[in-house]
């Protein structure tokens, strides 16, 4: 359960004040697949940072699974990030010189899990993201874009987070591969274990979600169920 109450974020650069978010409120129930959509500069990235506990709001409350996240220290935020949140980035952000397995297990390294448990959970996450097993020991810079994003999804899943935050996950992929990645998210969502928050500027991408929150100029413009959900039939690579 994710609750945002009157969230405002203001950046101060010298004398100039920029308001990125103005009085944003919404609630996301567990297991929802939601898209946050808006043009660049709308404040959706700021919102994603706050939802991902990478940043705290200037005012208002952000409550994640009953924990009030505003006003936590850097290290406490880091703890929440590796317990509850999985990130998928536009540019994948994999460690190029590490194997696929190592990349996926990295969050568990910081959680202090023992090596054999890491391996087991990484394997489970890679299966869930549909990564073929013969690639698990490849270095991540030897993979294609679609495969890299699958590895990134597996890395996001390895901690068994309550929320997967995907920031323009299809932005660096061609349409077909992007479609497959979106299908993977839908597949994950169908299992009911993960809330998925997709941040995008494309309506077409947003339409793969159950609900779309429209952001413009730092305010929620529209928040409604997606009437025309696109369902990806075959997400095999």
């Amino acid at each position: 359960m994710i609750e945002c109450h009157h969230i405002t974020k203001t950046y101060v650069h010298g004398d100039v004040q920029t308001t990125a978010l103005k009085d944003v409120s919404f609630t996301i129930r567990d297991g929802e697949f939601i898209a946050i959509m808006g043009p660049s500069g709308s404040g959706k990235s700021t919102l994603m940072h706050i939802l991902g506990c990478l940043d705290t709001p200037t005012s208002g409350d952000y409550i994640l699974d009953g924990h009030k996240v505003s006003e936590l220290s850097d290290d406490a935020l880091a703890d929440i990030r590796h317990e509850k949140i999985g990130f998928v980035f536009q540019s994948f952000n994999l460690l190029p010189r590490a194997t696929v397995l190592r990349n996926v297990a990295l969050p568990l390294v910081y959680a202090g899990a023992p090596p054999d448990e890491r391996e087991k959970r990484a394997a489970g996450a890679l299966r869930a993201s549909g990564m073929p097993e013969d690639r698990w020991h490849h270095l991540s810079n030897q993979l294609s874009g679609g495969q890299m994003q699958r590895v990134a999804i597996a890395r996001a899943l390895v901690n068994d987070p309550s929320m997967v935050l995907a920031d323009e996950p299809t932005g660096n992929l061609d349409t077909k591969t992007g479609e497959i990645v979106l299908g993977t998210f839908q597949e994950l969502n169908r299992s009911g274990k993960h809330t998925i928050v997709l941040i995008t500027h494309e309506l077409y991408v947003a339409e793969h979600a159950d609900r779309i929150i429209h952001i413009q100029d730092g305010e929620v413009l529209e928040d409604k169920k997606n009437p025309r959900k696109i369902i990806v039939q075959n997400h095999a690579i």
């Binding site: 940072h49 991902g52 990478l54 940043d55 850097d74 290290d75 880091a78 703890d79 990030r81 590796h82 317990e83 990130f87 980035f89 952000n93 460690l95 010189r97 590490a98 990295l106 969050p107 390294v109 910081y110 959680a111 202090g112 090596p115 890395r155 901690n159």
Partner: protein, 407 residues
Amino acid sequence: MRLGDIAQETYSSLTVNKVRSGLTILGIVIGIGSVIAMVSIGQGAQSSIESNIRSIGSNLLIVSPGAQRGPGVQVSAGRGSAQTLTRGDADAIANEVTGIQAVAPEISRRYQVTARGTNTNTQVIGTVPDYPAVRNVEVEEGGFIADQHLRSAAKVAILGPTTRDDLFGTSTTAIGQNIRINKVDFMVIGITKSKGGTGFLNQDDIVFIPLTTAQRFLSGDEYVTSVNVQTESADVMSTVQADITTLLLERHNIKDTTLADFNILNQADIVATAASVTGTFTLLLGAIAGISLLVGGIGIMNMMLTTVTERTREIGLRKAIGAKRRDISTQFLAESVMLTFLGGLFGIGLGWALAWLVSRFGGLTTTISLQSIALAVGVSAAIGIVFGWYPARRAARLNPIDALRYE
């Protein structure tokens, strides 16, 4: 984060750019290596000088004639070298000054010494039976000068091992043979034990004869070249030195101490002076080498700062997936400490090799103490921490959002 993970991350990031890591390590290798080599050379010089000084005896005062000095101008008052001390002075010192263990006057001069068909130019010392005790001379074979030799001005001689080899070779027995000094025949009655030393400092190229014999047959006068005085303990040396000064001034009828016609060398002073000179020397060498170590440390810092900048996005990602500040700073500190640790390890090897080369070809016995190795390892690890701390802190404090956006 587990230790194994830190090690793995460190290994993989240091091996990405092997040339850069290698060059950075080289800076530390040269720094540590030169510190170890320089300190070992300094300590080697110190111990060799000190052992040289100690080999001439212990608690030793050497009274030698000095030029008489007039106010302002230095006037040479002797025939060639000043001769102002007599055997009477030596006896007076022995009888009238307290705190003295033994007194050994000596006459030393170089003579051509011949034996059957061989000859050598060497130091001939005329002295008394107490000399071996005072000047740390040990007799290997036969005996030293005895009281009866002194009383009868016997023509007997004790050879140093080098002189023995020069005159008789190593195969034949020297004892009982005759040698000729300044056309006077002497019988060899003893050989001293080797004391080492080379060149000017060769204490083995020497011939001892009774003092009375030297005065009667060789120099023909009453003067002695110097008087060696051994005190009872190190504590009384300065008192004894003052007493001897007073006594000799009185005997030589000199009122003004600045006009004294003799000098007293105090062995403790020589040791202290030499120790302070070699200590300063070691410090200087160490400091110069330390500068190169400092430069190596700056190289580490430079490399780590570059690495942090290059890996900004990676740091952002690590933070996003749950790395705490401490995890990030530990990782970067581990890298810089690993660099300096490896540098320290190879540096010890280099320093050891340099010290060995100096011992082998430089004619100076160098000593590598465990202390200097421990110091080098400690210093290199400390450099890793000191110069790695700032870059690591910078990495740990990166804002994950900014770091993820970094191009």
